[in-house]
Symmetry: C2
Subunit: 192 residues, 2 copies
């Protein structure tokens, strides 16, 4: 028990430092309450809003809005030096996958267990006009959740992209994917 106590004390200090740093620097938003799995739209919106990165051919950071004010549209800050962006300029078809495991809300449930949610948003990855109002909104959404992006090299031609969602595949319970239309997704209420 003594060794566990020591382990915990050490872990406690480390976790506090990392926890506090992460809150202020890591760009991971504070957790909102996990919606009931049968409320598919609210659950999907929660999963997207609370996540800070996913897989879009490659691992990329994203934001759908200010922390806990996500609008549901994933925005990305990508350089065309990365194939993810350069390919998108040739073929916009993309799918973006998130795991709830990243949020820490799956506890000790295995990441592949259907009760540990995963969502794949399929659609078209579009570069936004950097001077548009939407680009300004997206830039604020991205730089708020990912502060270090502000300092990324100007010479690397980073551009703001948006995933225009056409289809949603979400598993967050037993019994296969939840039926969820794009309209239902955008109509989903974020729980306070």
């Amino acid at each position: 028990m003594k060794s566990i106590g020591f382990f915990c004390n050490w872990l406690f200090a480390l976790t506090c430092i990392l926890g506090l740093l992460q809150e202020s620097i890591g760009g991971r938003p504070l957790a909102r309450p996990r919606p009931r799995p049968d409320d598919a739209a609210a659950f999907a919106r929660w999963l997207v809003s609370q996540s800070s990165w996913g897989v879009l051919k490659n691992v990329v950071s994203f934001s759908d809005g200010l922390p806990n004010k996500g609008g549901g549209i994933p925005y990305f800050y990508l350089t065309t030096l990365d194939p993810t962006a350069s390919n998108a300029l040739k073929d916009q078809r993309s799918s973006f996958t998130l795991s709830e495991y990243n949020l820490g809300t799956c506890g000790t449930t295995d990441p592949e267990n259907p009760t540990c949610a995963k969502i794949t948003l399929t659609g078209k990855l579009k570069a936004l006009d950097g001077n548009s109002t939407e680009a300004e909104v997206a830039r604020t959404a991205l730089f708020t959740k990912h502060p270090e992006m502000k300092g990324w090299p100007k010479g690397h031609n980073f551009q703001i992209f948006q995933l225009d969602i056409r289809n949603i595949f979400m598993i967050n319970w037993f019994g296969g994917p939840k039926p969820l239309t794009v309209d239902q997704y955008f109509g989903g209420k974020m729980q306070v």
Copy 2:
């Protein structure tokens, strides 16, 4: 400070419980030292060996061997009720993506930052003969890292799959993807 203290005490208790549970149940292997980024093969093998899940069209768990004894071949335990497996039986071409961010070794670096490693293994996803020696090795590798798989419903037709790696795309530092052949990957030494 008082509220931070309280927050930390609460976090400390929770982290200990989860931390201890995770070590024994969560199936996430203990961390090995992070190889130097310029040792591409060792780095890639470390990233694969230390990870417990990734994105293969959908979020799936995997294992490349016993903890810290990974052979580099990703094995999966998939049900054909999930499109990931049923599609693979029609078209084996697959890519499997991992982020170092899951390992906690990126600290507060943004997940998209090139120094927080990401790897995509591209190849063919093949179902193994369940009675083969390799399937037995894979089953042990999977069930050791993902103990709850043992109890997954027999009626769901779970099968063991292997990713036959044909190409490797890894970013773990500035300057674009690391040149890394499949032979170099399998020749990479795991650091002790």
